[in-house]
């Protein structure tokens, strides 16, 4: 078994896939469905979230096609309204929240800690089953007609609409459980299963990011669980919790909902930032600049993010005092992200940067996270949000972060860790073509939406005034490019899975701890627990003079 300081490099002999690894150690579908191996669970999450992404993407394309003309185009009003609701529900609860933690958190976390598995492997499998159950229920609700409330389920519309709400909220509730148990598992894993020598300040930044994410998952998700169950109960039993005709307060629903749903966006974005930290280090062969700042800012985002929810409610009728407080706090969260961006760019300084597909996505990510993040600060500015709230400006802002930042990061993770997970390499040429298509297509899709918001087009609009058509057509054209790019990725990755060249244990020469074992790893990760003697992503040769540069 390899020692931590010995790393396979590009100078090794012809690479091989280990004869016995986690993929073939046990055979048969049943062995997969009853596995407690975190790596297999990660792979099953991967297949599941990709199916969810495909479904959500189809809904998105349907929406964009409908919006090609100001009037009805290919569907009726009720269908359209259900379509955007389901696009939101599927993308957020079935993809964005579980994806990076469920796939890469599961696969990489124990490897990065020098552990043989997560703290509670059976609980991990339960999380996967809960994910499948919740997803099935939500999809069943869709097939039964679906609902049109928007993923935000605002009362009293959600509690009085004749559409099918209950199976979907029940599905979300169960998905929440999956999320909570995963977060709980990861926190305990990081606390108790670190290899000897791995102090907190030696943890990889992806681990720090997962840690901060897990804290949010554990604390915030119960609130959405309660909230959606209240909506479901009220819809079925007419209890009047949020219904003013029975004494309830609809704005109270918004507080409950956003108390989770704002930290939820950090559940989505923090793991993405963790991926970037690791990937930038690997692809510029450089230590991450400002390691401590990045680690602490992850915790900072998690903490301060809990107090900013009211910025979704600036025009809800909330008091001015509340609005001011929430706005100020939202500005603070922005600072933590700014810190990270500075540090990532500075990591490139004096690096040794490889021209590989993940790097294209990293450049795209940096632009999108600054643009998306700062438009977030812009909408947090109360007077400006009065105009922008519930318009396409907000849609563009959050898609810049959720797609531009998070999905870029997901793709980076997928490409960077593809050889780790499957032992094979994808085709760089196609990778770069798809990356260019996606970065360009993304801009073409969502920049017109910023302008639509400025022009005043509200969200969730099936019919719109003629003057908005040009921008809508432009956005749909961009979306087609984006869809095409994703399709290309799907094709060449599947091809690489079956017929790609064998990558070897560490094709990137990365010094992340997960690269210390073979690719793909053996079933139990390590025969003997490794002893950690150096920081992760340190690219100095032993014995070589270390050049310290202070800026």
């Amino acid at each position: 078994m390899s020692q931590p300081s010995q790393l396979s490099t590009e100078h090794a002999d012809k690479p091989v896939i280990p004869a016995v690894n986690y993929l073939n150690a046990d055979r048969g579908v049943w062995s997969w469905l009853t596995t407690i191996d975190h790596k297999r669970i990660g792979v099953m999450y991967l297949v599941s979230v990709l199916i969810a992404f495909l479904l959500g993407g189809i809904f998105a394309m349907a929406l964009r096609l409908e919006l090609l003309t100001p009037g009805p185009t290919i569907m009726g009003a009720n269908t359209y309204n259900r379509m955007f609701t389901l696009h939101g529900v599927v993308m957020i609860f079935l993809f964005m929240i579980p994806a990076i933690p469920g796939v890469f958190g599961n696969f990489m976390l124990p490897l990065m800690l020098g552990a043989k598995d997560v703290a509670f492997p059976k609980l991990n499998l339960l999380s996967l089953y809960l994910y499948w159950t919740g997803a099935t229920l939500a999809l069943a609700g869709m097939i039964m007609g679906g609902t049109d409330t928007g993923w935000t389920l605002y009362a009293p519309y959600s509690t009085t609409t004749p559409t099918t709400v209950f199976p979907i909220v029940l599905g979300i509730f169960i998905l929440g459980f999956s999320s909570i148990l995963t977060g709980l598992n990861f926190i305990v894993t990081i606390h108790t299963l670190r290899a000897p020598g791995m102090g907190w300040m030696r943890l990889q930044l992806f681990v720090w990011a997962i840690y901060a994410t897990s804290i949010i998952q554990v604390l915030a998700t119960p609130v959405i669980g309660l909230t959606v169950m209240l909506v479901g109960i009220e819809k079925v039993g007419h209890f009047g919790f949020f219904d003013p005709s029975r004494g309830g307060d609809p704005v109270l629903f918004q507080h409950f909902f956003w108390f989770y749903s704002h930290p939820a966006v950090y559940i989505m974005v923090l793991p993405a930032m963790g991926v970037i930290s690791d990937a930038i280090a690997a692809f510029s062969r450089k230590n991450v600049f400002g390691y401590k700042m990045i680690a602490y800012s992850s915790l900072g985002i998690a903490f301060v993010g809990f107090f900013a929810w009211g910025h979704h409610m600036f025009v809800s009728g909330q008091s001015s005092l509340d609005n001011g407080a929430f706005a100020a706090i939202s500005m603070l969260v922005g600072v933590f992200t700014a810190i990270k961006v500075f540090n990532w760019v500075a990591t490139l300084y004096k690096g040794s940067i490889a021209v590989k597909t993940p790097f294209i996505y990293i450049c795209g990510f940096l632009f999108f996270v600054v643009f998306g993040g700062m438009t977030g600060i812009a909408v947090a500015t109360v007077s400006l949000d009065v105009h922008w709230h519930d318009t396409y400006f907000v849609i563009a802002h959050f898609h810049f972060i959720m797609v531009g930042a998070v999905i870029m990061a997901f793709l980076i993770a997928l490409h960077y860790w593809f050889p780790k997970m499957f032992g094979r390499m994808y085709n760089e040429g196609w990778g770069m073509i798809a990356a260019a298509l996606i970065v360009f297509g993304f801009n073409a899709t969502f920049i017109p939406q910023f302008l639509l918001g400025n022009a005043g087009m509200p969200r969730r609009y099936y019919i719109y005034p003629d003057r908005y058509q040009a921008l809508n057509v432009a956005s749909t054209a961009g979306a087609s490019l984006l869809a095409f790019g994703f399709l290309i990725i799907l094709i060449y990755l599947i091809y690489a899975l079956v017929r790609g060249p064998i990558a070897g244990d560490n094709p990137w020469g990365s010094r992340g701890y997960e690269w210390m074992t073979t690719s793909p790893p053996p079933k139990h990760n390590f025969e003997t627990t490794p002893i950690i003697t150096q920081d992760s992503h340190s690219y100095q040769e032993p014995g070589e003079e270390v050049e310290h540069v202070v800026i």
Binding site: P222, H238, F241, G247
Partner: protein, 216 residues
């Protein structure tokens, strides 16, 4: 799940933990985190209570007068006692007193059943009186605006709590079964500790619910 050595049993060490101590620490941490999530689950209902009490001060005050104070107090005493007995059960097994542990667990479970029984009677009363949530409210005694919302909050909070009582009781029954099979001893008792912890949370939630609903 464990091996016996003349009265003392050993816990099973999972393949990914280096030592029993680390494993025990991990499961305790996991349970405390889980209890944290349960607190947040109930927190929303407590918040709703606070908000609606602020809006409908009179109705809440009046409606709480009409709750059965004796039933509530008895339930509180029952739960607190059950927390005591489950803690004593934990201490018993730490001292290898298996029979005593089992007996105390049985007593705890009986307390849980008693709690549920009293609650069922209270609920039945309310159904008869018409003190029901939301649209179904037709309780003539309390007519201040917002009274139906009081009962909505009442049923939701006590209902969710009762659900947790059932879950906690089921866990304790499962632990009891393992105690009776001789699985636990002075060297293997962490599951008893964790089951007890969960029960303490169930008790703690009630300790907050009781004064808010019955006393003020």
């Amino acid at each position: 799940m464990s091996s016996s050595e003349g009265g003392l049993t050993k816990p099973h060490l999972a393949h990914h933990f280096e030592t029993i101590e680390k494993q025990d620490y991990a499961v305790r941490l996991g349970m405390w985190l889980f209890l944290g999530t349960e607190v947040l689950l109930f927190a929303g209902l407590f918040l709703a209570y606070t908000v609606y009490r602020h809006f409908y001060h009179e109705a809440f005050h009046e409606a709480s007068r009409h709750l059965d104070l004796w039933a509530g107090t008895t339930n509180t005493v029952v739960l607190i006692t059950s927390s005591l007995t489950v803690a004593l059960a934990y201490h018993a097994i730490k001292q290898n007193k298996v029979k005593q542990c089992a007996g105390l667990l049985i007593f705890t479970i009986i307390c849980a059943l008693a709690f549920l029984g009293i609650k069922a009677i209270e609920y039945h009363h309310k159904f008869q009186e018409g003190a029901l949530p939301g649209a179904f409210y037709h309780y003539a005694e309390v007519t201040a605006p917002g009274a139906n919302l009081y009962y909505t909050v009442y049923f939701l909070s006590t209902g969710l709590h009762a659900l947790h009582v059932i879950v906690g009781m089921s866990i304790l029954i499962w632990i009891l079964a393992r105690v009776l099979k001789g699985e636990f001893s002075a060297t293997h008792y962490v599951p008893v500790e964790l089951g007890g912890l969960y029960w303490h949370l169930v008790d703690l939630v009630w300790i907050f619910l009781f004064p808010l609903l019955y006393l003020i």
